[in-house]
Amino acid sequence: MTVFGISSQALFGQLLLGLINGSFYAVLSLGLAVIFGLLNIINFSHGALYMIGAFVALLGLEHLGMNYWTALVVAPLVVGILGVLIERTMLRHLYKLDHLYGLLLTFGLALIAEGVFRYYFGVSGSSYAPPEELQGGVDLGFMFMPLYRGWVVLASLAVCLATWYVIERTPLGATLRAATERPQLVQALGINVPVLVTATYGVGVALAAFAGVLAAPVIQVNPVMGSNLIIVVFAVVVIGGMGSIAGSIVTGLSLGLVEGVTKVVYPEASAVVIFVIMIIVLLFRPAGLFGKQA
């Protein structure tokens, strides 16, 4: 079967890969948006923490025999604790300063993480096998879908929706949004805002680690996987704007799809298509698709 002269397997296969990339964009830009909302910091180490999440899964399997499902819980926990430590010992001292210092500090942390992992593991990647339950695939008629890839999309969507639900529909989320708008007022009402801030950073980076574990069986696990991704995610954030949780999710997924289509239609441009879209959005809607003009 062919569509526009391209075999449907190739087209839908690339679309699915695009959707998978899009899920990672969505989960990562969601984490960035949540952290930015409360901490006013752009977390440059988000990519590095995503990479560490994948490495926790890989090393856990090699040294402790930790299976995939355990890793899916353990890696976000480990990285979340790491995040809490980073926030408590370093980021905390920067809130009164210009936003740029937070970006520079987390950039430094990303360099440290990348360097350490490069020393121990080199730049070539290691692969991580998908869990037995999700090996193989199903024939959908128009394409053959590997089960694991379907799972990645579903799991990311579920996490995104859960985050959206918690922030937009629960009392905890209401507190969080209130603290984003008026931290002093919320503090005066008896809510411990510093703890809320620490927890938010921990959960935000745990999301990145979760994405890292999901990504481990799809891509090569290597120390630079995070930095390559984070620059694209920054472009996604510029396109979508960080004002809206739902906006981050929709923008992430659709840009992944666009990238997938580009890979079929004009492969040479697939690496840059998101940056080009960013330029177009800046020209016509400088505040971003879902953003408010600052």
Binding site: L105, F107, G108, L111, V116, I231, A294
Partner: protein, 328 residues
């Protein structure tokens, strides 16, 4: 001893301070002229290239308050243009450098035009993404040599008759270009235009309310900074006879931020001092510790941000009890 604050004391201080400056600059010039006979010239040239790069970057961050994470695009883009023209068209070095600078200025205009639509960290993210676009062009375009870059670039003859093949001749040429660039930055900072830039950095709404077209000032700062970063990149391409992907990689953008931060944001000589320290560190450490260089650079970043935000030169000035960090 005069009491501080009395008119005579203040007058005398300005006088001694300007004499002091003349002395410091004279020593610096003599040292710079004598250096290549004592220290390996290639190392010195590398320091000068990166010092110019960092000073140019600081014009944008230190004086206009705009953090660009895309300066590698100007530095590397210009290096490619200069290397290509010198290698394939046999352009003389000064023309090749001018061409590289012009391309970098145009790129800077484009980056600035797009990115000043947003402010703060969005601007930073936009410049990073745009620079990544330039990186992919350098990676895939047919004339950039892909992973190998452009190698064996001839240094050529300055103005057609002064050979730059000799390291000492090349050093004095690099020194002259650096001095010219540094002088231009110093003039810019102390001009009325520079004062307006600082005003925008300190309080943008007030600058707008005073009737300044803020975006035009920012855009011009972008172009100037990019052009001089381009000059530095083109020089570097001639010194090492190489333009490669390293020059356009985002690590390079990070490195120039680090040099500026370590030396002292918003001070004139700080970025140059930062460049000296970082280049020396890299030279010393590269063979000994390999990948740990990245870790060390990252740690310097963290320490600078947490405990050392004034940078080397900024701290020195603070020790001398000066409140304004604007030496010259």
């Amino acid at each position: 001893m005069n009491l501080p604050g009395t008119p005579t004391a203040a007058g005398r201080r300005t006088q001694t301070s300007s004499q002091h400056h003349v002395a410091v600059w004279s020593v610096a010039i003599v040292l710079a002229l004598a250096a290549p006979w004592v220290i390996y010239p290639t190392f010195l040239m590398k320091v000068l290239c990166f010092a110019l790069f960092a000073c140019a970057f600081n014009l944008l961050l230190g004086y206009a308050g705009l953090l660009s994470f895309g300066h590698a695009a100007f530095f590397g883009g210009s290096a490619y243009v200069c290397a290509g023209l010198a290698k394939y068209l046999g352009l003389t070095p000064e023309l090749a450098i001018l061409a590289g600078t012009a391309v970098a200025a145009a790129l800077g205009g484009l980056f600035g035009w797009l990115s000043i639509r947003r402010s703060g960290i969005y601007l930073t993210m936009i410049t990073l993404a745009l620079a990544q676009l330039v990186f992919f062009v350098a990676l895939q375009a047919p004339f950039t040599g892909g992973e190998d870059g452009l190698q064996g670039v001839p240094r050529g003859h300055l103005l057609g008759f002064i050979s730059l093949g000799d390291n000492h001749a090349m050093y004095y040429f690099v020194l002259a270009v650096f001095a010219l660039g540094f002088w231009l930055i110093r003039r810019t900072v102390h001009s009325p235009y520079g004062q307006v830039l600082k005003a925008i950095r300190e309080n943008e709404p007030r600058a707008i309310s005073l009737g300044y077209d803020v975006n035009r000032y920012k855009l011009l700062a972008f172009v100037l900074s990019a052009a001089l970063a381009g000059t530095a990149g083109a020089l570097k391409a001639l010194v090492f006879q190489l333009a490669s992907l390293t020059d356009v990689h985002w690590h390079m953008s990070g490195e120039v931020v680090l040099m500026t931060l370590l030396g002292g944001l918003g001070t004139l000589v700080g970025p140059a001092a930062g460049a000296l320290v970082i280049v020396a560190l890299e030279n010393e450490l590269a063979d000994k510790v390999g990948p740990w260089v990245t870790v060390i650079m990252g740690s310097i970043f963290v320490v600078c941000v947490l405990a050392f935000r004034r940078g080397l030169v900024g701290e020195l000035l603070a020790l001398r009890g000066r409140t304004d960090i604007d030496p010259s």
